[in-house]
């Protein structure tokens, strides 16, 4: 059991000042190779929880272990992707993808070859040398995804990565993301405020509620894999949607949103 768990939190908390409790008493375990969705309304602490795991911010209390070691800062086995593509405008796609290697000082033929392959994998053939301003929003996120793959991290933290895109593009990219991270090696945590999206992608959905930010429920999603867009209309799927809604409704009643 223990060797299968890559991330675990117990009593994990993050307080920004005396009044703002962003995350309180989070208890969870995340098995290797799983896909976890963090879903909840704005201000429920899902982004904060993601940044705690990434090592970008420090916890205020409790325990947070990644591979049985306390998180003390950014680690090379954890990669991040954001709602904005955060590409460097003055670099071509492939130069953006090579950024992780550049920062580590590991740019060589092999790294360049891998960057090339990653761009093919995310569907950017013929756009390897385009500049970000020449790409659509969806394509920019594809470059960001290729850059994430280039880090070689097997824990991927995605903060509403396709949240700014139109629905069609988002659905397509979600499917491609699933294809890329499937298998037993890559562990994914995906932040979203879209309940359908959260369920569709995940093996397990953490439902978070605000003030203070808590994980209100951890729902295992027993839908067959690979997922298919037709599942969105099945009764099983809608049962999960209702379950998530009930959890949120139970906590949000009477709360000003």
């Amino acid at each position: 059991m223990a060797e299968d768990i890559v991330i675990s939190g117990s009593g994990l908390g993050k307080q920004f000042n005396e009044t703002v409790i962003a995350v309180e008493d989070a208890n969870f375990t995340i098995p290797r190779g799983s896909f976890i969705s963090l879903v909840g309304p704005s201000g429920c602490g899902k982004s904060t929880l993601l940044r705690l795991i990434s090592g970008l911010i420090e916890k205020s209390g409790g325990d947070l272990l990644v591979r049985n070691a306390e998180v003390e800062g950014p680690r090379s086995d954890i990669g991040m992707m954001f709602q904005k593509a955060v590409l460097l405008d003055w670099r071509t796609s492939i130069e953006n993808v090579l950024l992780p290697d550049e920062i580590r000082g590991t740019v060589d033929q092999d790294a360049k070859k891998r960057a090339w392959d990653h761009l093919q994998l995310v569907g950017l053939k013929d756009f390897e040398f385009s500049f970000p301003r020449q790409l659509s929003g969806g394509m920019q996120q594809r470059v960001a995804l290729a850059r994430l793959l280039q880090t070689g991290a097997d824990i991927m933290l995605l903060d509403e990565p396709f949240g700014a895109l139109d629905e069609f593009t988002r659905e397509r990219l979600n499917d491609e993301l699933l294809r890329i991270v499937e298998g037993p090696d890559i562990t994914t945590i995906f932040v979203t405020h879209n309940i359908q999206e959260a369920i569709y992608l995940a093996d397990q959905v953490f439902v978070m509620t605000p003030r203070p930010g808590r994980i209100a429920a951890q729902i295992k999603i027993d839908l067959p894999t690979p997922r298919h867009i037709d599942m969105l209309t099945t009764p099983e799927f809608n049962k999960y949607v209702q379950e998530v809604r009930d959890v949120l409704a139970g906590h949000l009643d009477g709360q000003p949103l």
């Binding site: 940044r51 990434s54 090592g55 970008l56 950014p74 090379s76 954890i78 990669g79 991040m80 954001f82 709602q83 904005k84 955060v86 460097l88 405008d89 003055w90 071509t92 492939i94 130069e95 950024l99 992780p100 550049e102 920062i103 580590r104 033929q109 360049k112 070859k113 090339w116 390897e128 040398f129 385009s130 500049f131 301003r133 020449q134 659509s136 929003g137 880090t151």
Partner: protein
């Protein structure tokens, strides 16, 4: 995305004014120009305006010929002022950018700097001219100093604005990749700030010219400022106007040069240059990888 599209639409509209009737526009402007010149000339010849104060266009043209060709004395003065302005610009810009970087990197320093910056901002910097001439003498150094002081502000403010414009997510990305402070600074902060910094630089070049000229007006042995002061004091107005036109022309040329450099450096903001760069890098990369 939509902003880009709007921008390109307005570009097309702007261009069509020229491209559609380029010949027509040139003819129209030339015509209007000559009509104005003719009225000006006639006003002078008929005694309507005082030729002593407002010289005739034909006299100005003759003076241009004189100071550039027959006497040829203007070249030396232009060169002096150009050197002062450029040197001043260099000094002012370096100090401005250095202070801005320090202010952005250190909150303590920024707090310390703030009141002094407000004082400098509130002082009309030209007013320091006489003091600088007293401090640094009648030679070039007082002009360089005033040019530096005058042009320091734009690079300073723009560098701060540019560096503070780096988005939080960009920092998070770099930190999550394990970047150190130096990498964050050179690979993220500086390139992000570069467009704003360059805009400041363009302003600085222009104002440095003004700063050098004003210092020359106060007291100098050479330069366009003292040349023009001498012409006006001897009521040689045609030559004074010829000098003024020279300054305008060089100011314009300098600004255009800066724009060309600006466009080259900031290739990723220009569609054509970006496409060229993209093709070049593709060839280089494919060769390296043997693709």
């Amino acid at each position: 995305m939509s902003n880009d599209q709007e921008a390109s639409v307005s570009n097309i509209e702007l261009n069509s004014q020229y491209t559609g009737t380029l010949g027509g526009a040139v003819i129209r402007h030339t015509l209007i120009f000559f009509v104005i010149m003719f009225i000006w000339e006639m006003a002078n010849r008929t005694g309507f305006s005082n030729p002593l104060l407002l010289p005739r266009p034909t006299d100005i043209v003759a003076s241009i010929w004189k100071i550039y060709v027959t006497q040829g004395n203007v070249w030396y003065h232009l060169w002096v002022t150009f050197q002062e302005a450029m040197l001043g610009c260099l000094v002012g810009t370096v100090i401005g950018i250095a202070l801005a970087v320090a202010a952005v990197l250190s909150d303590t320093f920024r707090q310390f700097l703030k009141p002094y910056i407000i004082i400098v901002e509130a002082t009309p910097r030209i007013a320091v001219g006489p003091i600088f001439v007293t401090w640094f003498g009648f030679g070039m150094s007082s002009k360089v100093a005033l040019a530096a002081l005058v042009c320091f502000f734009a690079p300073f403010v723009n560098t701060i604005t540019g560096l503070l414009g780096v988005q939080e997510e960009s920092y998070e990305l770099f930190r999550s990749l394990g970047a150190n402070r130096r990498q964050v600074f050179w690979r993220l902060m500086i390139p992000t700030a570069l467009p704003t910094m360059n805009a400041g630089l363009k302003l600085a070049v222009g104002s440095a010219f003004g700063g050098a000229l004003v210092a020359e007006f106060i007291s100098a042995q050479a330069g366009m400022g003292i040349l023009m002061a001498r012409y006006t004091m001897s009521l040689n107005m045609p030559s004074a106007f010829a000098g003024l036109l020279s300054i305008t022309l060089y100011g314009f040329l300098l600004f255009r040069t800066m724009e060309v450099i600006d466009r080259r450096v900031l290739y990723w903001l220009d569609d054509d240059l970006m496409a060229k760069k993209s093709a070049k890098r593709a060839i280089k990369f494919r060769q390296e990888l043997g693709l």
